[in-house]
Every structure is written in structure tokens, then in C-alpha cells.
Symmetry: D2
């Protein structure tokens, strides 16, 4: 314990004089927004200077609005309590904005911020599939960040937008990446069992989901079938060439608070075996050299107990940033099947937006 | 309303003087056993004369044992309250036994009953895959019942055993049957989300499943992958030739009381389209001529709302005997995908054993 | 079974030629409204001729609006599917309106209907405590219906309003009535554990209640503490004199779909014992002579198993119209304590409004 | 952050060379036992040297047995993985045993250990009400620990037993203590809504509690009604004189993983008001001077939001060692009512046993 503390102390010393990068959170009162606010508490690189939300909340302090709605088990960070909520207009005092805006308003607001010179790391779906907008998972396609050049040239913006994928796409893609690189990837069939927090707040009415499963999530299957192709695609000469495999998805809502579970079957190009696959998953360490503060040490954790992963036991591994895999075995139809779990609010949304912002800094797209 | 009542009255008159067939329920105190007891209340053909269970319960009345464990929302039938529980030995005063025995004891006990001349309709897994034991879903393979001849000859039994499939197999097979007959069936990938009651009682500890999904059910995937091939196979010259398609299954437990949900993708041999498939599903009426009392009028119900089927809304359709299908659409990997729901305790277990017994009578294998 | 059917047939014959009373349902698309629509399917006295809701739904058929929102396990009644939804203005073609309106709009709309000559049986809270409005539980205060005379005189209305109590008040008062009549009632302490459906739809967000208890329901405790005094009061010379006891309530929301549970302690005026109390509860049959179609045969059911009542086992007894009591025992502070359960949507809301309308007819306040 | 780290570093330095006291955990494989194992990870005073359980587990490593049963969201501590499980006989290599034994075996085993010279801090109910056994909540009755003298004299034991109260008693008593001290306490009525983990593992079958409330927990009400009188009693001349108030309890099981909620009404001897009561609760700091490592800084936390406390938001405050109170208001029958929440596995069981062991050390009953 002592050694660990000394390490921390040292870390703290080295950090203490660095000027932090100022961050604004758009949509800070929603489920994803408040998770971003929580994750940025004591962040070594970033400091939240602005929280913004709809007109209805603007003018109140964050604590006034969120006092009865704060919906995570950790306390509201001290730094956030007295921040005055602003409207989502590009007059915020910050360099970066992390956007947890609802899709109904994100398109214009995010463009306005980018135009005005802000760096936008967005969790909204609106710009994800724009050809000149990076759809980033740093473990997979950190180089796609350079699509920003294309974007700024094409749009004449001083700022820019980068996006993170849909909450059920991310965790699966992180597992598909080493499969594709090592064995070739041809087909993916996935059935999801998605948590309640993925629908935001108020989100799913309790009367709809208590003692029930809902076999439909609006637009979700389309996202899971299309986003991976861009994410796992190649950036070349300023455009992304989609990866060449197919995905078929069935998406369900289940009565679990946090953690999307996914049953996946894959067809690979090369012959392999379970041990080799597991070994490749466990040794996947693409970000080891970058020291991004929110990057999980182990982006993929393989659980050997046959009844894992489970939301209640595994969702918080690596502070909620891991893709937790289990039950890898042969499939009678495709080649292999397995189960993957990710924390939809952290790895799948808030943590993804924060990690993308860290990547922007590491790649020199932010000051400091 | 009046017309319906008169119909019922007429039906009642014609039934009233018929001597009913005596039935014993083995494993009558378990979750499936008590559902059989409930379903046989006022049954037009059968009368429960015996309930049998383990040594521990033997000698007490059914009400004494089940008073605090009766676990269905309907009241315990009057007829059952004062029945004295017997041990599961072939000295019961009845012609047929419906077996809801645990797999750990079913093998021997069921054989003993069949040897002693009883007709056994079993829900246990032990004899399902015996080559000379029918694995019946009357809507699919009513003719397989004649495998009884082979069985009796081979084993020298006066009685016989017929079985019903695993609770997540039945509902899916009922949908596969018209697909196979009309379009040819080559491949099936299925992910299940199975209800708590499928694990019996006490079954799944609440601490394991509250706010959780468990991606593993012991031996379940093997059953779902192998039983359909026998069920949809052909009886010819006293043996069953398995159907020629492949199934890959991933089985999960979710926190729902009743109703197994299944996300299925299929590869068919012939080209078709959604409308034609739905039409074939909805017009599937294989038992129309047989008038089995527990047979659902519509064995397959197709729900057009995009968020159906759901356990809470659909599990009790056709008194829990329907396979409820929804969301039929194209699959990027195989051909079509859909969701199917069935009541695991009724269509998938107790009701299946009762329906099989009705089939035995209709086919002349019982007296009366 | 035969005898029962013949009885039903006879009953059906005598009913078949009677002209039914026309009923409109206000707020027909909400949780209570749809339950009223379901309960009035094949009602022997009433016929739903109108369904009314907010402007947003008006002009569409009931099926168009409710297709994906119908939230009960029984099917939508045939009669309702093609009814065109009207706005809630007093131009509906019916004699009676059953109001399931939200409190935010009920006050004016219900008054407008009463003024225009309609008989209004309301489930909304707005008029409950008006001194000239009956707050009815037919088993307790059927005579209070005559407060209508006072109301019509005071307000100059051709029609009138009667109300039913809050969903956690009704079931408890039904038990308090025989206690008060036989033993005198001085004090009541109650802690409720209330079901999700009591909050309507969309009601409680799943993220608020999954794996949680919420110890607060807005305004609920005040209703539970004041309504019983009026309900159990005496009508004399056109006004109600409140009953003379005190209630203290703590109200909680729990993750149960249907059925409010209440732990009650009471102080009585006379000495008694458990057997006598149970006997008085079980023999409580105040409506036996009136033959109201929705009145439960046994308004109070006492369950002797020590772990009852339970929502999953008892909520539907007497078609959801019973107060189910258990665990009567001595209290160290007051005199006796017990648990009572009622179906909040049926006994506590929709069924209560229907039963009140039946009482109006039986008392001559409606035509026919 | 830096200041906080330096503080921690200093604390760590002062601790680093202390020899730790050796601890054995009895019943280490149960729900409470594994929570003790988790809480003692990196404990500054104690070191787990032995884990013991039933014959069935003995001889295996802790990881072998608990791999699929470890049921907390934190990982299994490294120190525990390779510990070999022993049988529960007084030959363990340790000075103190923390007992999480089942009541069916605790009585004899704990006595055997105490006789053999071990200090026993027990969570089992068996010895709680023995007149010569302390029933400790350090915040309330740390002085009762001296009852050990009486116990050792009477029984001729070298070791001794101290106990912690039932899991729904502790959190309530912590609140009753400042009420009694400041205002006098006469009557307590409490209704509990208790979490699933309170029933151990496998504990409550999911089929019993899904979508349900069970209004009965075996023997629980008796414990809640009697234990507080001893706990809040006075030790004088080697015996405890019970406190002079009465408790009436109704105990319910609800579908929540962790956190017992309790709705309490109290009658006090002196007049007071809400502000004064809240002030006394918030300033309750009885252990401030003792520096017990597991003692919560604030044993009572008062939440001002009207919908608090809630299990999902408040159960882990003060590392699960706080009594979280809310909704203090006047009661129409007694004087005041409020809601109190405690983490049943931590404050109510495992953490209580650890804290009692810490008290033993601070009071000089252990070595070191």
C-alpha cells in the first residue's frame, strides 16, 4: 500500500504545476453528460470550466439542477456543484467541448462550435458517418484523427469535430480489431442485451421493462451494422475506405442498469484455435506507448469462468473501460462465438468521449 | 357472449358422461409439476388421480406441501388439495403418468413405469435422444408417435415413454417447421434470453440475477443444437432420420419470470420474401383436424408491431401455447432474422407434456 | 363445470335484451383509462360509446394510438379498436363518463361535464375532498352517494360528480371499516410499498427504480392520512362528518408492476383477539344484496400462510377487486398489525370507478 | 488532491512497520464471509492468515471454491486467492476469528474457539442475547465490551465472544442513540424493506422475489424488537440493564441487491423540533477520538432531498458504514418519523464484525 501511495504522490507532484486544458460539457445534465462530469473529476490533463445544457437549466448552478437527478453512485464532484449552467452556444470559456447532446439538437450545435474554433469530441450520432469526420476508438484507429485536416479544409472550420461510436458498437469493435488483424474477419452476427442507462434519462419507462425484455431499440441495429466498417476501415489520402466484412445485429433491451452484453459469432479468413484467439485478445495493447490517462491497461479482458462476463461482476473492470470477453468456443455456422460486455455509459459513451479528447491532445490537436 | 356460452354448454354436455383417463403426475411439487397440476384442472379427457414426488413429501397432502410453495397466479385447483402425495414407484393408480421429474432421477423411474405398463409422457431430458423414443411436438411430428412400436418391441415393455423437447427448443422448432416445409432450411443461429422459471425452483438465486444477465445455462446450448434435428427428422421403417440443417446457439438467463425470448437467423434454400414467410407462419394449422384440447388454435402468432413479441404482453397468448413471432426482416449474413417468444413453463414444458398425452389418446395409444 | 356453465347461460339470457347504459371514458389512453376500457369489455350494464383523450390523440382510432402502448396482458377489446378518440369536451354521446384524467386537467373538465348533465365517476384527486362530492367505496359508504343532492343544489348542475379514493387508500379503508364498526378505531400507522403502475405511464423511469426503493411519492402521504376520515365519516343532513381517528403514513415506491402492499398498525377502542378480528374481516359482505357486477364476492380475503399476501400470488384475487390481508398479530406499540394488498389499477382506480358507476345505477342515479 | 495524498502518505508511514494482528475468517465462503475477506484487504491492523468453512470446501484454495461464486463487484483480493480453506476447528493459526457462520452451526463452534483462547467477533445470532456476551455497536456501547470480564469469569474461558446485531437492527439503533440521549426515547414503530443479500447465498430464489414483495422474514421481527433494548442498555456491575422503550417491527423483503430501508416512527420524552433533531444526528461523532480504521467519519448522514435515502444512491456512503437518514417530519400518531438506510452486508454484518474487532484492539483486548 505504501509503495502505491508514494507512486501516487510522485504522480501528483509532477502534475501539479501543469496548466490544464479547459473543457466544456455540452448536454451536461443528461445521463452521459453527468458521467463525463464525474469522469473529469481530478483529471490530470483537463479541467471543466463550463457546463452547458438546454435553456430550461441555463442560469442555475449544476447542483440546483442535478441535486435530485444525479444518478451515479459516486458523489457529485465538488468542482461541479457551483458551476453555473450555460446555454449551448459557442461562447463558452474553454478550448474543448465534450458533447453529450441529444441527437435532435447535436447536429447544428456541434457544427457551430467547430466553426467557432472549438475542438468538439462528440458522443452524438449525427456526424459519425460524415465522410470527413473521424469515428474514433483510439485502440483501433488513432490514425483516423488526421481526417481532421480533410474536415477543416472542406468546411473552412477553425475547430473540428471528432466522434465516438454507438454504445453497443465500441466494445464489440475492440474485440474485432485483433481478430481482423490476426485472422481476417469476414462475417459478424451479434445479438445484444442492452442496459437501461443506454437509453438516457428518463429513458425507458419502468412499466415497459419490469419483468420484460424489449426486442427493439430504435435505429440501433443499423448503427451496429454500419459503424464498425468505418471504424475498422483505413485512412488513406484523406478518406476512409471501409473494412470489408458484414455485420448482422439484433438488439434487445433488458432490465439491467449498466452494461451491454453481446453474443457474437464470427467468420474468420484463417484457421486458428481458441487458445490462439484468446492469446491475441489478452495481448492486445495498442495504446501502451501513449499514456492516455483514461486508456484501460487491458482493453480486452478474457474471463475463463464459463458463466462470465456478467454485468454485475465485470462492468466496472478497468474503471469501466474494458471490453470483457468470455465463452469463446466453436460455432456450428460461422467459426467462433463468444460473449462480450462493456460499460455502455463509460466505455460506450462518456469515457469514450474523454479518451478521444485525450487522443487529440496526444496527437497535438490541442494546446498544452 | 351468449353464443360463446352456449357453445361451451354444448361442449360441456357432450363431455359430461365420458369416463376420463386417469393420470398421475411425477415430480408434482416442482415448478413444471405444479403447472401440469394447474393445467389439468377441469381437463375434458384427463383426471389426475395421483401426485407423486420425493420421499420427503410422500404421505402428506398436496396442499400441506405446496401451501407456501404454490407459485402460479391461479389458485391451487380444488381437486389437488387433498390428494395424498405418493412416492415415484410404479404402483400408482392411473393409466398415464406425466413426468416432471428432475433429470437426476428421471432415467430409471420413467423406465420402471414404462416397463410396468404405464404410458409415460415425460418432460425430462434423459430419454429424449434415445433412438427409439419419440421426441414429440404434435404440430410438427405427430407421426413420430409410432416409434412407440419400435420401442416396445426393442425393450419388451408393455408401457412406453414419449418425451417433449427442451423449453427453448420447442417454440423455435414450431417456427422452423413451416420454414423448412416451404422454403428449405439450411442454417439456424439463435441467441436466447431465457426466463427464471426455466430453471425450476429454487432455481436461480436472486443475488445471481438481480440487475444482471448470466450468459450461460448448463447443457442448454447442446440441447438447442441437437434436438431440432431429431424433431424435424423423418420416421421411416421404425427409425428417425435426422433433418439436414445446422444450429448454433448462445443461451442466456435474464431476469424475467416467464417467457423465453429468442433472436433467430436462418438460411433457407429457396428465395422468398417477408410477406410470403409471414403468410406461411400465420396459416400454419397442422393440428386443426385433431381437436386436441390443449392445442393452440394458432400455434404461431405473428405480431406486426415492431417492438413485439414481449414476455409481459405476449407470453399468455393461446393460454401460453403459442409461439409468438415478430420483427421478421432480412439478415446481412444468413437470409432472414426474427424474434420468437414462448411460455417456457407451458408451451415449453407442462403444456407440452399434456399435449403429448392428448396426442397419445387421439392416436389410440390410450384407452377410452 | 357443467353446473357453472348453466348458471352462466341463464345469467346471460336474462341480460341479453337489456339496453345498456352508454359510457364515455375520459383519459382513455392512460394506464387507468385503458384498464377501464378493458374492464368494460362485455360489461352487463354498460357499453363504451366514446373514448376521449388529449388533443394529440383526438381523431385517431383507439387502436392507432394504443397499438404499441397497450400495456395489459389481456388483448385490447374488439369493441375499442375502431372507436375514434374524441377530445374531452362535454359533447360526447353518452350518459356517464368515467374519468381517468390527469389531475392537471381534471378539475375543469369534470366540472364542465357535470354542468352539462353528465354523470361523472372520477378517479382524479381534484374533487375528492370537496365537501359536496361523494368520495365513495361502495362497500363502506354507499349511502354517501346521496350527497349528490347537496351538490346539484349548491352548484346548479344537472349532472354530478362522484369520486373514488387514492389507490393506496381504498384497500386499507375496506379493512378499517369492519375494524371500526366492531371494535372502534383510534389510530392507524401505515407504511406502503407501492407498485409502478400507480405512477401511470410513462411514470417512473426504470433508471430510478431498478435495484432501488424510492421513499417518497409526491402528495401521497397526505391523501392516505386525510381521505379515510371522509370515507369512513357519516352523512347526515347533507354533509359528511369525518370519522374520528388519526392516520400516519409513510409511502414508498418499489419495483413491482402491480399491487400496493401496506404494513398497518391499528389502535382499537375495544379489547378483542386475532380470531375475532379475522372472523369479522372474512365475514364482511356489505354489498351482498346489491348484485353490482364488479363487486368482489369477498371484499376482504384473509390469507393464513405467514408469507402472504404477495403481489405475484394475490393481486388478481376476485379479479383484482379484493383487499387481501395477512399476518394479523399483536403490535407492541398500538394493538394489532397486519399486511394488506390491493391491485392499485383495479381495486385502487379503474375498477373503483366502474364499481361507483354501478352503484349510481343501483341507487337510481342513472337511467335504465 | 495533493494535500490529500500527502496526508495518506503520512498515515501510511506511521503504520508501515506495525506487526499486524492475525485474523481467521469463519464461514469465509458465504456472503458475509466474503465481504469480510474483501474488507480486510490492506487493513492497517489486521492480516487474514486463515479462512475456514465447511468440510466440503476444506482443503481447496479460496480461489478454487469462490471463483464462480465471488459475488461482489470488487475483485477477489490477491492475498486470499491462494489461502487454503481449513475446517472450522480451533486449530487455526490466528489470534482473532471473525465469524460469519450460519446460525445452525455457530453456537458450538464459536464457543469452542473462545474456550480455546481465541477472540471471537461474531456476526451470528446465537450468542447475541446471552447475558454475558456484549452485543456491540461501537458508536453506541463501546463500554459494553467490558462484559467480557463477566463472560470469562462465568465460563472459565481464556478467549471470549463479542457479537454484532442483526443487519436491520444496527443502522436503526445508531439513529436511536442520539435521539435517546438528547430527547428520551419511548416508542419505536418500524417497517423494513430489506435487501436480497441479507438472506445470504443462495438465499432468496429469484422466482420468489422477481416482481414481488415478501412480507415475512423468519425471526427477523423478533430480533428488531429485542436487540435494541440490550444494545442501548447500560452496563453496570457486570450486567446489562435493558433500555426502557418498546419496538414494534414489520419486516419485508424487496428486490434490491444491497441496502435495508426502514420507515421509522418514534415517540420521544421531550419536546423538540426537526432542526434540532437533524442537528443532533449530524453532529453524532462518538468514535472521533478512537481512530478505528473502519469507523465512518460520519456515522449518521442526513440527506435533505425529499426522495432520499435510496439504496442505489446512498448505500455506499462512508464505504457502506453510514446510517443514511432522510425525510424527518412530524408523525400524526407518535412524534416524528423518518427513513433510514444502511448497507446490510457492510454496516449490518461484515463491517460491523470488523469494527468490533478494531474496538477490541483499541480497548486492549487484543495483542499489539
Amino acid at each position: 500500500m505504501l509503495m502505491k501511495l508514494l507512486e501516487n504522490c510522485t504522480g501528483a507532484f509532477s502534475v501539479v504545476n501543469m496548466k490544464k486544458i479547459s473543457v466544456g460539457v455540452l448536454g451536461a445534465t443528461g445521463m452521459v453528460g453527468q458521467t463525463i462530469v464525474a469522469l473529469l473529476d481530478n483529471h490530470p490533463w483537463f479541467e471543466v470550466t463550463e457546463v452547458a445544457a438546454s435553456e430550461k437549466s441555463a442560469g442555475k448552478t449544476y447542483e440546483e439542477v442535478m441535486g435530485t437527478r444525479w444518478n451515479t453512485s459516486s458523489d457529485m464532484p465538488e468542482y461541479a456543484r457551483n458551476l453555473k449552467i450555460k446555454e449551448c452556444t459557442p461562447k463558452l470559456d474553454c478550448e474543448v467541448v465534450l458533447s453529450a447532446l441529444d441527437a435532435s439538437v447535436a447536429e447544428t450545435i456541434e457544427s457551430d462550435f467547430a466553426k467557432a474554433g472549438y475542438a468538439v469530441s462528440s458522443n452524438a450520432k449525427n456526424h459519425r458517418m460524415d465522410p470527413d469526420v473521424p469515428l474514433l476508438i483510439p485502440e483501433i484507429n488513432a490514425d483516423h484523427v488526421d481526417l481532421i485536416r480533410t474536415q477543416q479544409k472542406a468546411r473552412g472550420w477553425k475547430g473540428f469535430i471528432v466522434t465516438d461510436p454507438n454504445c453497443s458498437t465500441i466494445q464489440m469493435c475492440i474485440v474485432l480489431k485483433p481478430l481482423m488483424d490476426n485472422f481476417g474477419l469476414e462475417k459478424v452476427i451479434v445479438t445484444t442485451m442492452q442496459a437501461l442507462s443506454g437509453a438516457g434519462y428518463p429513458g425507458v419507462p419502468s412499466m415497459d421493462i419490469a419483468d420484460n425484455v424489449i426486442p427493439f431499440i430504435n435505429n440501433e441495429e443499423d448503427k451496429v451494422e454500419t459503424e464498425p466498417l468505418k471504424i475498422l476501415g483505413k485512412l488513406s489520402q484523406g478518406t476512409i475506405k471501409n473494412a470489408d466484412f458484414a455485420v448482422s445485429a439484433q438488439c434487445n433491451r433488458v432490465a439491467v442498469r449498466h452494461g451491454h452484453m453481446e453474443c457474437v459469432s464470427v467468420k474468420l479468413s484463417k484457421k486458428t484455435n481458441e487458445d490462439e484467439i484468446i492469446s491475441r485478445l489478452e495481448s492486445f495493447r495498442p495504446l501502451a506507448a501513449m499514456n492516455l490517462p483514461s486508456a484501460p491497461k487491458r482493453p480486452i479482458i478474457y474471463q475463463r469462468n464459463q458463466n462470465r462476463p456478467q454485468p454485475k461482476l465485470d462492468v466496472n473492470l478497468e474503471n469501466g473501460m474494458a471490453s470483457v470477453v468470455g465463452r469463446l468456443r466453436k460455432c456450428n455456422i460461422l467459426d467462433y462465438k463468444f460473449v462480450v460486455l462493456g460499460h455502455n455509459l463509460v466505455r460506450g459513451a462518456a469515457g469514450a468521449a474523454v479518451l478521444n479528447a485525450e487522443l487529440l491532445k496526444a496527437k497535438g490537436y490541442l494546446s498544452g
